[in-house]
């Protein structure tokens, strides 16, 4: 009981800051989303969002962007984590090269770098493909909506797999060796050990990582902004790039506030479902 009190007191300052900086701003955002430019109450901003074709396009794009990026980041992160835990010599070296480097690269720098790699006049990617004979001519990677979406997802996987990789490494290291030994005695091969020991043991970490990457990817802005600016056409316009353009390009702050709230509800629901499920599993 006493410990709980101490813990509560120690958490309090942080809670107050969160209330000040998040809840208050959220409330002002909600107020804004229900106001006209003159300050009167209106539903017009939400109505404008739901009758806007670009909104549906951006929701669809966000789904593709999240699905592709998260699947890629989790799978690549898991594969890299499994490999890296096998390496016993030079652990620090390999982990920092593979996991820290992409993650520590600034978002804008990563965006500009990928944009130049994809370039169809000077790009290194095209140069390599042509030299090894995989492509006949330079491919304009960012020039069509579908290709551009794939290109930004690939860049995002590179940028984000490290974080899930690090989570997985930490998770794998907590799995007791005895479980593997027992499985080996029972005659399980490497594949069986992975499916029957590693994955179930890693499940809590997997769920947390999944939640984090989904939310981060939904809200991730700089890479798309730098590489394609939401184009070509509306090919890579996600909800966040659309919010940015609504507020800072068109100065429609109230409509942008309405869309931000919609996004907030989506993100909040995802986080709520995940944490509820995780809490239930821990209790069980």
């Amino acid at each position: 009981m006493r410990e709980q009190k101490i813990a509560l007191r120690m958490v309090m300052p942080y809670v107050l800051i969160i209330i000040a900086f998040v809840v208050l701003l959220l409330i002002s955002n909600i107020v804004m989303s229900f106001s006209t430019t003159d300050g009167n109450f209106t539903f017009q901003n939400y109505k404008a969002i739901f009758t806007d074709n670009v909104f549906y396009k951006s929701v669809f794009n966000t789904c593709i962007w999240v699905l592709g990026s998260v699947a890629g980041q989790i799978l690549l992160g898991l594969a890299v984590a499994l490999l890296l835990t096998q390496i016993k010599r030079g652990q620090v070296f390999f982990r920092s090269i593979i996991l820290i480097l992409p993650w520590a690269t600034l978002d804008i720098v990563a965006g500009v770098m990928w944009k130049w790699m994809y370039n169809d006049m000077y790009g290194v990617l095209n140069d390599i493909l042509v030299k090894i004979g995989l492509a006949k001519d330079y491919i304009p990677w960012l020039a069509t909506p579908k290709m551009a979406m794939i290109a930004v997802i690939v860049a995002n996987i590179w940028k984000g797999f490290c974080l899930s990789g690090m989570f997985f490494i930490a998770g794998i290291q907590t799995i007791p060796r005895e479980l593997y030994e027992a499985a080996e005695i029972d005659g399980a091969n490497a594949y069986g050990r992975f499916w029957n020991v590693t994955i179930p043991q890693l499940k809590p970490v997997l769920m947390t990582t999944l939640m984090f990457t989904i939310i981060w990817t939904i809200n991730y802005f700089p890479l798309i902004y730098v590489m394609t600016g939401g184009g070509p056409n509306y090919g890579t316009e996600t909800i966040v790039t659309y919010i940015y353009r609504l507020s800072l390009r068109f100065l429609e702050y109230n409509k942008a506030a309405a869309l931000s709230n919609i996004l907030f509800i989506i993100v909040f629901t995802i986080a709520y479902l995940f944490t509820k499920k995780m809490a239930r599993e821990v209790a069980a």
């Binding site: 960012l142 184009g231 070509p232 100065l251």
Partner: protein, 412 residues
């Protein structure tokens, strides 16, 4: 009691010294010339006894920074605003102080190029003082003209000549192209289309800015020709990905021979490749039925929240005075002054490149100075991109764009 008194004195001193400091925000290409700003501002400080703090911003960040500050009511005392629709947009939001009275009285007013005033006017009231300007021209690489057997002193004048010259230069195998078509989802694409639209005898909006006016045979002809340069004639790098700034850099590397450029391009292309000095030039952009150009530039505006509006106007007036501009042009050789007397009396009048600019400028039109302009511009960008990506035919795309523009303008 003494302590309280001391505190009050100190606080009021601080407030006073703050009150006497004038803040000016400078954005755009001229923001890179900071030592010139310092020397010009120093003279002002000595003359009027007002302290000025100069803050410079790069072009990419300036708009977001300024809009955020104005929205929060925390702007500077004097700020640069792009002539591409910023001034009326900000004025509609109530962020700017009208300058009509001062401009009417100021002796420099008759010297300002008259086609600049609409860009700073909102509902008949002027909210800004145009400071420097430019107009869009054909920027071309003389070396590449020579290599293709073309006369470098006789650039194309009509659309047909443009296609012929560009096709002669283009060598897709080695990724060398004749003309760069801007097709990105940025302002450059709207500007590019406007150059061709007005050259075909069309216009973007009706004269009262109440509805779209580009859905005409002229507008369609311009859209077809503009996109055909990339699609049918194949004389441009992949247009959806690049705009005129990229093409200028490619031109510095002898990869693209022609694109839209202007006075601001000179220092930038020379920075990209110092060896290109003397091997590039500008000309009136090729046209179909009439010469055309789009003007741009920057104006000085006073935010409504500034506590030093009178001093801010003094600074605006000083910066736009004949003497300051003459000094600026003698030292920097550009950009183009908004004052006609400086254009004719300074050394610029003897430079052949600048003569082209001064000759073209009276043809130059402004982008519609209305708050809805950014959204209209986006519709034009989408229209061009949809045609370039083969998602719509030019006829369909122009119809959709005109409908959307009319909806944005609230026209039936």
């Amino acid at each position: 009691m003494k302590k309280v008194f001391l505190c009050i004195v100190l606080v009021s001193l601080v407030l006073l010294s703050f009150g006497k400091t004038l803040t000016i925000w400078i954005g755009g290409q001229v923001a890179e010339l900071d030592e010139t700003w310092n020397s010009i501002i120093k003279v002002f400080e000595q003359k009027y006894g007002i302290k000025v703090e100069v803050q410079l911003f790069g072009f990419d960040t300036y708009y977001d920074k300024l809009v955020t500050a104005l929205q929060a009511g925390k702007g500077p005392d004097l700020a640069f605003a792009d002539l591409g629709g910023w001034v009326p947009t900000f004025a509609e939001k109530g962020w700017l102080e009208p300058m009509e009275e001062q401009i009417k009285k100021w002796e420099g007013t008759p010297q300002i190029w008259p086609n600049l005033w609409p860009t700073v006017t909102y509902k008949g009231v002027r909210y800004g003082l145009p400071w420097y300007t430019d107009c869009r021209l054909l920027l071309y690489n003389k070396t590449m003209f020579e290599q293709a057997g073309l006369d470098p002193n006789n650039p194309p004048k009509t659309w047909d000549e443009l296609v012929a010259a560009a096709q002669k230069i283009t060598d897709t195998k080695n990724r060398i192209y004749g003309y760069g078509v801007s097709g990105t989802k940025t302002e450059h694409t709207t500007l590019g289309y406007m150059m061709f639209l007005y050259a075909a005898g069309g216009k973007l909006l009706t004269d009262d800015y109440s509805r779209a006016a580009f859905n005409t045979p002229e507008g369609l002809k311009a859209l077809k020709f503009y996109t055909d340069l990339a699609k049918r004639y194949g004389v441009s790098p992949n247009a959806v990905q690049y705009h005129e700034d990229d093409y200028r850099n490619m031109m510095a590397q002898n990869r693209v021979a022609m694109s839209i450029g202007g006075p601001w391009s000179f220092p930038l292309i020379e920075a990209a490749n110092p060896n290109i000095v003397g091997k590039y030039s500008v000309a009136l952009h090729p046209y179909d039925s009439q010469p055309a150009s789009v003007l741009g530039g920057w104006a000085l505006v006073i935010p409504k929240t500034s506590p030093n509006k009178e001093d801010a106007w003094k600074l605006a007036e000083y910066l736009t005075s004949f003497d300051v501009w003459m000094k600026w042009v003698e030292e920097k050789g550009g950009p183009m002054p908004t004052r006609m007397d400086v254009c004719t009396k300074s050394k610029l009048a003897n430079d052949p490149k600048w003569q082209v600019i001064f000759k073209t400028f009276p043809y130059a039109v402004a982008r519609p100075p209305i708050p809805q302009y950014p959204q209209i511009s986006e519709q034009i960008q989408i229209m061009v991109q949809k045609v370039l990506l083969n998602e719509l035919t030019p006829e369909e795309a122009i119809k959709v764009a005109a409908e959307n523009v009319n909806k944005i303008l609230g026209a039936k």
